[in-house]
Subunit: 189 residues, 2 copies
């Protein structure tokens, strides 16, 4: 039966996403997911530590892409510009996987337990980005704030892109980062 495990993992992710959409996260049991994927329930927990994590596996790719982009950004850019660049590039992962990204984000948005996990992932990712910025010499406190505000803009852009696919993710990102600048520009300080 076992070939590489990758096959089963993919089927489990697919089955989970389908079932979460069909009857909701809370009304789906791990046994059902496993059954649809054609494996044993125990196998589910061999591939994913819990019922939520099955929807958060591509995160490693996004993380790697973000880190790479931040590290390789040209000198002379300001923190927020580095991040806009990085999110543009990493965003391609979302755009290329849209058929998977869209229902996934939909389910997450309507399930508190999944939103909690998403926030945790975001926090971890944000901290990694902040560290990457520090590696580039961005001041300590500034790096943390930049990463969090940048992520807030990215998250908002991603949501807007889901709601309005007529514009591409880049356009939404530009607008979100413009808002960010407007926010501080108009502040009295």
């Amino acid at each position: 039966m076992p070939r590489s495990g990758l096959e089963a993992r993919r089927r489990l992710q697919q089955a989970a996403l389908e079932l979460y959409r069909e009857r909701g996260f809370d009304q789906t049991t791990t046994a059902e997911i496993a059954a649809r994927a054609g494996v044993n329930e125990r196998t589910f927990f061999r591939h994913f530590p819990d019922k939520r994590e099955v929807l958060f596996h591509g995160e490693a790719d996004l993380r790697a892409e973000l880190m790479r982009s931040v590290a390789e950004a040209p000198d002379g850019l300001q923190p927020l510009d580095i991040l806009l660049r990085a999110f543009r590039e990493a965003g391609r992962i979302l755009e290329e996987n849209r058929p998977f990204s869209e229902p996934r984000l939909e389910v997450i948005a309507k399930t508190p337990a999944l939103r909690e996990r998403e926030l945790a992932k975001a926090a971890s990712l944000t901290e990694a980005v902040a560290e990457a910025l520090r590696q580039r010499g961005v001041a300590d406190r500034l790096a943390g704030l930049a990463a969090q505000t940048g992520w807030a803009a990215f998250h908002q852009a991603a949501g807007a892109w889901i709601d309005d696919p007529s514009a591409n993710l880049d356009a939404h990102l530009s607008r979100a980062f413009d808002d960010l600048r407007a926010l501080s520009a108009t502040s009295t300080g």
Copy 2:
């Protein structure tokens, strides 16, 4: 046995905090918490929806204070200035409850499951602040971003204040919001 229920709830919170510190969150069962509080396990779940929530009950006070402050801020202030004002005022709750919050924050910091819940609480609170800003006429997207960046600054200031109590929270807040403005001011846009 039942007097008002408030008594049991307080004992449950106390027992939970103690046990989470003594043997850790994961190694504590709800039955043990209930036993130490002198009530039945079922009663625990009548007062708190789950094992984590028992540590997140004062949140309502902070939320109420923030909402009030945002709503009552004088006209003419920019979003970030409204928030700085609000966090200054709400921050007093933290300063007054420092001796109680400290062990609680300690447990949360070292327990992933509790950190997840904390992030969820922060997100909910942030969304409430955003809505309060919108009520004041702040543009839709801007309100969301302002609330999140403002919260990021507040969170960073609170952390700095825990690590360095020599300066008061206000000072840390001022510095964080200055950083925020510096972030966008130097961006090319």
